[in-house]
């Protein structure tokens, strides 16, 4: 057997052992009627611990609990009432936070969510397809249904981008990820990013995060992510960050400072219709005459005027500043002259 094959076999075995150890931890805690002590767990070589290095086994046990918690299985430490701090802990699955409440989901609720899941699965811009399939199976079981299998089950579809899925997974786990990215000019670069949020717009998913190379918050489009490496390094998303601010409008795509602009819209438009138009950006309120008033920041006043014209049938009109109104009138003038 050559060295490469031997190394590959060794890696495969280690992978298999890690998964087996953590599954076995779940198995013994799930099947045990009483909590297990730390000693019972970390000294058990059949379980996958029990090395000569207890400190190492304790760290491994902690990491394994974290892996299970990421998957919704919460192992908690318990001490008997009155027990000394120095006494050994015991461990059990926290059933309340791990297992779904009995009758958790009515069939009607499960059907509502299933329809939404299938609607999301039918879209091309979803970065969490595997998560949706997993939810689908869970809902079927909880709702007591035998639903029609989704045509998108299990096998990869043509739309899947493994590199983009890797960024999604890194975002879920809050781990930094290194990837190759092709910018709009076709130049490839390597980035290391802490993904703070994901948004879907115009048929694409976009990952927004702190980019180590530039030191700033950047946006990365799914189909330009070429290759991703295994994520490392934890981070936290700042409390002030709001992914909703990154859903872009045509007047965002310019250099320069963003300035406040205001538009009015027809009073008889429904709120969902207006919110679909404005992408949830800025501030929306009713004026005294019942019309909608939308205040937002724009980097490009000409593009903002153009945006208002494109939606004139919705009663969209520029209100402020005067330069926006002038830009709007100028565009109209150009078109009238061209059609004279």
């Amino acid at each position: 057997m050559d060295t490469r094959q031997h190394t590959q076999d060794a890696e495969d075995t280690t992978t298999h052992d890690t998964a087996r150890r953590i599954l076995n931890l779940l198995f013994i805690l799930n099947s045990s009627s009483t909590p297990l002590t730390t000693e019972q767990i970390v000294s058990d070589s059949d379980l996958g611990y029990g090395s000569l290095n207890r400190a190492s086994d304790l760290k491994k046990f902690k990491r394994d609990r974290e892996k299970l918690a990421e998957r919704g299985i919460h192992i908690i430490e318990i001490r008997a009432a009155g027990a000394q701090q120095t006494e050994e802990s015991s461990w059990t699955i926290d059933r309340r936070s791990t297992y779904a409440a009995a009758g958790a989901l009515s069939r009607a609720d499960a059907e509502v969510l299933l329809r939404a899941v299938d609607e999301c699965l039918a879209r091309e811009d979803t970065p969490f397809r595997h998560g949706l399939l997993s939810i689908r199976h869970k809902l079927e079981g909880l709702g007591g249904m035998t639903a029609e299998p989704s045509p998108l089950d299990s096998e990869a579809t043509a739309q899947e981008n493994p590199a983009a899925e890797a960024l999604w997974s890194a975002f879920v786990l809050k781990r930094k990820i290194r990837f190759s990215y092709l910018d709009a000019k076709g130049q490839e670069s390597k980035r290391t990013v802490a993904v703070w949020g994901v948004f879907m717009q115009d048929g694409h998913s976009y990952f927004v995060g702190l980019d180590e190379q530039s030191g700033g918050v950047r946006t990365f489009r799914d189909d330009r992510i070429v290759r991703a490496w295994r994520p490392t390094g934890r981070y936290e998303v700042p409390a002030w960050f709001d992914i909703g601010n990154y859903l872009f409008l045509p007047f965002d795509l310019a250099a320069g400072m963003a300035q406040p602009v205001e538009f009015s819209l027809r009073r008889d438009l429904s709120q969902p219709e207006v919110e679909a138009l404005i992408h949830g950006r800025g501030e929306l309120e009713r004026a005294t005459d019942g019309s909608w008033r939308w205040r937002v920041k724009a980097r490009d006043l000409d593009a903002a005027a153009s945006f208002a014209l494109a939606h004139s049938a919705m009663g969209m009109r520029p209100v402020a500043p005067n330069r926006l109104v002038t830009a709007w009138k100028t565009l109209i003038g150009k078109v009238v002259e061209a059609h004279g």
Partner: protein
């Protein structure tokens, strides 16, 4: 014993938990191989390795072991030792479901039931960090139910050609997603023809006591509907860049000219919509034919200017 295969430790772990959960919930704790792989989120080629991993689980102290076998085209979990009660949502699943229930605009009681029954304890704001352009409006759930149960509906809707919303009687057929927008495909009972309705323009839906009638449905895209029912105009785009930015469904044949401009046919349903897009292009788009449409555009532009004076 199957070779460990292509799965990482993390994926094997996730697949193992999902497979145990699915088998625990399945009748007689038995699943077909294809269903088992789908439930585990893996390909059927990777399933033997995961089954083997589960088969190796045991508790030395109690003597319990996970008894799982592949029998022909089925996976069977024996006994009680490895049974898992239904789990709450994982971190990832919780983030996705939180986002979905925000998107669906579910009532507060339904949200509360889902959160209490399914979500992990703690942070209720797990949807933070996911956003998308609103596309479903407030009536997706009701319409989905009407489609499933075959219920005729009264729907208040404003189309591009309407000044105000009006009420229609429709037989809802299905929901379609096209170019980032969600549409209800339904039969307009009064007009006796199939129509597409943007979900975010639906202001109200009420169920009637009637069931939907059978209809001869032609499954048409927006482009096909526009060609069948819309008006046609010839336009010129100033350059290829302007042409490239036009993502309209009604664009027909395009002819590139020597000067870099592009002449194209456009099928449209609303003159106002067409005029708005030409105005928004600020001179980079021009209507060529019919000539009377150019006159109408100038008149429309004059009205717009007058509407914003004062």
């Amino acid at each position: 014993m199957a070779k460990p295969g292509s799965l990482t430790a993390d994926r094997t772990l996730t697949a193992g938990i999902k497979l145990l959960e699915a088998l625990s919930a399945a009748p007689d704790h038995r699943l077909g191989v294809v269903d088992a792989a789908a439930a585990a989120g893996i390909g059927t080629d990777d399933l033997p390795a995961v089954v083997d991993t589960i088969g190796a689980l045991s508790d030395r102290m109690s003597g319990a072991r996970a008894a799982i076998e592949t029998e022909g085209d089925q996976i069977h979990l024996y006994g009680d030792a490895a049974l898992l009660m239904p789990l709450r949502l994982s971190v990832e699943e919780s983030m996705i479901v939180s986002h979905m229930i925000d998107l669906l605009d579910l009532d507060s009681e339904t949200r509360q039931r889902i959160r209490e029954g399914l979500m992990p304890d703690g942070d209720e704001d797990t949807a933070r960090g996911i956003a998308e352009t609103s596309r479903y409006g407030s009536w997706l759930v009701q319409l989905s139910e009407a489609i499933q149960d075959g219920v005729r509906c009264r729907m208040t809707y404003r189309s591009l050609t309407d000044d105000t919303a009006r009420t229609r009687t429709v037989d809802p057929l299905r929901i379609d997603d096209e170019q980032g927008r969600a549409y209800l495909i339904a039969w307009d009972v009064e007009r006796d023809e199939e129509r597409r309705y943007r979900l975010d323009r639906i202001a109200d839906v009420a169920y009637t006591d009637d069931s939907v009638a059978p209809h001869e449905v032609k499954t048409r895209s927006t482009a096909e509907s526009l060609r069948a029912h819309g008006a046609a105009a010839r336009l010129v785009a100033a350059d290829e860049e302007t042409m490239r930015r036009l993502t309209w469904s009604g664009i027909g044949q395009i002819e590139a000219r020597d000067d870099g401009s592009c002449v194209f046919t456009l099928y449209y349903s609303s003159k106002r919509w067409l005029f708005d897009q030409v105005l928004a292009a600020g001179g980079n788009l021009q209507i060529v034919e019919p000539r009377e449409l150019r006159d109408e555009l100038r008149a429309y532009a004059a009205e717009l200017l007058a509407s914003n004076d004062g």
